[in-house]
Symmetry: C4
Subunit: 375 residues, 4 copies
């Protein structure tokens, strides 16, 4: 852990973003057709290392099913609009109309706050999950640490196969003076489905989250063009470093358990196919994509994006904005052929080719590819 | 102190701005409601670690009182317009009218120079201080080192409880060939109120200022979007480093005195709630805010800002410009709920949440939080 | 090889672009008229260390001849439009018309994909090579590794003197599960003409390519304003480092063979005469220029540029765009006098003067000139 | 000399620009009125450490006299328009008219090339020097190394007191195959006036130039917004490093001669009063200003600027452009009061205040002030 002394007696960790690194090919090259991008978590196998950010702007039950059929993992927000309204698409359409009409982005934030003030309904959540079950893919939703204890049971009863417990910043040791905080370890131990939990941003937190029994740990805060955690809280996660640290925690935990492999899912700062390749190259097993999926024609919010924190009632840390054209079929967006040459489409075809050109045929091997960093 | 050799035999200190650092959460998280942002200097306790920049553009006696009632320290410029004119708000309104009409920002500087050429009146200063006394908060004004000897007595007689002696760059050892310079040590020793003195920008100056008997030391030159000390003088203070160095001076002085704790107030380069959190994280006990308070509806200059140096008769080192919308009630600006997600409102609610997410419940502990620096 | 730890247990190479370095003159200066920029590869001698990027946008058989007559090496794309169409200039003109009319750069990519779907004709290739033969310069074409086995024979029969085997990223060890990959070593051994092969981006690959028997190795991916390999694949080559590493491979190979000198040709990131000088200064023997040649009046695409990868059917990694004015005679572009002072014209006159001002009279010596790098 | 390995076996010097450094005050402060900015070279004493760039755009004989009367050294270009035309101001006015009318900056370069093709007349040069003699200041002109042998005699006969021998990049050892290069050492030894020579950019060249017997050495290439040496030749001089290296050469030479102090004049990259302070802080004894003097009402080219290299017939390395408003009286520009707060006026009043705030009263002491560099 290289530390620099930023002032007398005060050190800081030298940290790097994905934009700071580039991939260096090895002495070999391979044919793209020989490359596999598959991975497996618990009993579930995926052709591409993709999880969707569980945000209503990009994931409906229909999108989640479509992602599953293409080979990724679609994650619905279990506390999102599909769990709060009988006609969520109409709520989104109204939001977009008010967003288009707004003079000030703050008006859209106010509209989001109002819409997400509606309580979650277990019946609606159950219905949404049941819709997802007939798609052939793995069924997964996201719950917040605050509500997981209440909602996980009904969700499992409704048929989810994987549970994502996700907040912007999550630890295995949440301290609160009044009321009981979720004990992740006992909670996960009692569940019938594997859990992926996060986000976290350092070795120690990643290690402690692995010790809760989670099957996967999310590294990163899901930051992107519409999130402002860095401007509001000063907390930011240079992703190349955060991913590498989480991968180190994975190795330590593997050793400490004599063989339990916890998957590292990188969430945040991944804008293009190049970033996907770099995230894997830094040590991630899979990536969780948000804004890049606003390119999909199937996205519920027609190219707009907002993170769940945009609706926070007293301290929003994100906003809503048009991000992608929403005119590329999801399958083409993920698997090609590419439209244009900007790394925004054929996201996983590009990963496959990056691996081929760099000489690696499996994701796990590609985690060792050479990197440069701006000197 | 990491030094780099910039040329043969010439070294420079490696230094960092707040923008270069990010906060890294610890292995714990906490509930925001368990967090305290209070601090105490001498006999005075504050709910939030805020001092206002003593600039007429943002602080009137009424604003100072309002800041005090919310839990911060409002500091009036003891040599500002409230001490020079019987109707200072009208002077400001005229300034703004000329600023709006000006083709060239230099015209507004000329207007400021003219307005601040009016002499300070002890009677008007006394009146302003008396107005501040019935607000319930701590009463404080700022005087320059040049005029402190003359004006401190009347100000204390009028009822101030804390004195800020502040210039852009202040030392404990001002040398001048003719006339007597203020001897800070004997001056402070003779005063009946605690003194906060600055700005300074390095360990040694901070240490010497602490030895004058000051209760607090200001680190930084108060720089922001409307100051040009860096372009005019070449003197600039990378704040993360300057704060950390002043905190090191605080530790040394604490040791050398066997327990006297001098507070470090960071002034300059703090534009958002994230910067407030970072300044504390680097070692500050409190922050002094200028331009961020132009968001306040109560600001006398309706969103314009100018530093006191903008009115210097031969070498202005700042200018006047519209900075904030001046449409957010001061209490909401400081304590929330936030408007938008840009770190400009709910400034101290955001600090509380940053501390909670990083796992710390007291300001003093938060000074140890992990940091990253761009690699 | 300075490595930094970007995260726990994960290192990256510190790497530099040409823009990061500057040339420092030595204690001598020389007269420009005493400087030679000549170099020789195998039996072929050149007055200027220039190869053209084998891209239809800038190289026709006529341009290749003109480059040869000025003292450089014009390289025609052996799989380009001159090998696919009887009237390639008209195909280009139609492309440009559609490019001018397009609302979206993706439309031009689609047009390129369509045009390059036409198969290569050995007859047309032969004809193009024969046209190049009567120019007095060295005759060279580029073939891809995929097609070199089929097309090299006819090309040599048609009269090429040098063969460029070039892909974006090439290795000496291409692995593929089905079908036989080109074995560069035996292929080159069997050829009657010297081969320049690339691009590569690190020491080991450069070394292995040298061991294939190539006369020259291309370092870099030919990146420029219209290529997006970095955004699509995450693979990028900071050129100052890549060139220096390839030069190190050249020294090792020279030692290992007891005297075989393989030339290093830098391709990519070279936009101005300054960049040409820097590439040589970092260790290159010659440069391969693409977009800078769109200034030439003779360029077939009238100032537009596209890399060959822009036409890839499923994952284009470049696009077409107007780059240069196409109004400077090629000889003036290369040899002066300059038009303007922007380093875009008199490209090799400027190299000569840079060498003179820095005190070196031969390219080989200039590879040792002092450099700075941003501190 | 900290070196970094940019590639295997290839190192580069870590170098810094003035923009990379900031000045850190010491533990003292002083009154501006106690500060002296005077310096002396040979028998000539100056109140301010200023030489003008010898460029027709800013220096006429009248301007040179005015600079002298204010306390600086005005340097006329001995090979400029005043030595080529009987009515140089009219030539400049015509140039500006064509510049205003031009569609393309290259047209103005062509106009400059044409104007400067007119031969130098010894009579006109003599006349210009004689005009400068009755101003009270020190009389100085600049000659190029190419023409110094021919023109120095007449210039001394006409009454110059200091000779500047200046090219963009000059060494003590100019090698040329045909004809005799100027031997600076014997040339300077034979002259009756002290010589300042440059520019140079590293320790060794500075040291060798000092050994020629020069009274001063110019460090830097005079680069600014209208020069393109970096884009054309790849040669650039990060000034903080170059100045510090030249100051080290000054110390070595002082030791090697047992006391001969050769002055270091920084030329290039100095845009504001802050940069003047930083250049002195890095080790310069004086600065040579070009574009900043286009603010002067007296500037012959009414705010336009061009370096002499802009008129080079085959490889111009600069252009002409409007840079300053040309509406501030020269005395006010140099000595204040400032107009505005941007570091563009009151250039040496600002230097005085920077020294005062940093705690130094003499230029020589200020060369030791603390610096930071971006971490």
């Amino acid at each position: 852990m290289p530390e620099v002394e930023i002032g007398m007696g005060r050190t800081a960790r030298s940290a790097y973003d994905l934009a700071d690194v580039t991939i260096v090919p090895s002495r070999r090259t391979r044919s793209s057709s020989d490359i596999s991008t598959s991975w497996q978590i618990d009993a579930y196998r995926f052709d591409i290392p993709l999880l969707t950010q569980p945000t209503d702007a990009i994931v409906s039950p229909a999108v989640a099913k479509a992602v599953g059929s293409i080979g990724g993992l679609g994650v619905l927000d279990g506390e999102g609009l599909w769990a709060r309204y009988p006609d969520p698409q109409r709520v989104i359409d109204d939001l977009l109309a008010s967003g288009e009409a707004a003079d000030d982005p703050d008006e859209m934030i106010a509209a989001l706050q109002k819409v997400y003030a509606q309580p979650v309904s277990v019946d609606l959540l159950t219905e949404a999950i049941q819709t997802m079950r007939d798609g052939g893919g793995t069924v997964a939703i996201r719950l917040s640490p605050q509500n997981a204890a209440v909602l996980a049971g009904p969700a499992i009863a409704a048929g989810i196969e994987l549970l994502i417990i996700q907040g912007t910043i999550v630890s295995a040791e949440h301290v609160q003076a009044s009321g009981a905080a979720l004990n992740l370890k006992s909670f996960i131990a009692d569940l019938d489905v594997p859990v992926i939990v996060g986000g976290c941003s350092n070795y120690q937190t990643a290690n402690h989250l692995m010790r809760t029994g989670a099957a996967g740990v999310i590294v990163g805060t899901g930051h992107g063009a519409t999130t402002t955690t860095d401007n509001v809280l000063g907390i930011a996660v240079p992703m190349a470093t955060a991913i590498a640290d989480a991968a180190a925690a994975r190795r330590s935990y593997l050793d400490e358990t004599g063989g339990r492999y916890v998957h590292v899912v990188a969430a945040g700062g991944i804008d293009s196919s190049a970033d996907i390749a770099k995230a894997i190259a830094c040590g991630a097993d899979a990536v969780m994509l948000g804004e890049p999926l606003t390119w999909a024609a199937e996205a519920p919010a027609a190219g707009w994006y907002w993170p769940t924190t945009a609706a926070h009632p007293v301290l929003p840390r994100g906003f809503a904005a048009p991000c992608g054209p929403a005119d590329v079929p999801l399958r083409q967006l993920l698997m090609g052929p590419a439209l244009g040459a900007d790394g925004r489409t054929n996201l996983f075809g590009a990963l496959r080719r990056a691996m081929a050109k760099a000489g690696y045929s499996r994701l796990k091997e590609f985690q060792k590819v050479g990197l440069t960093v701006r000197g």
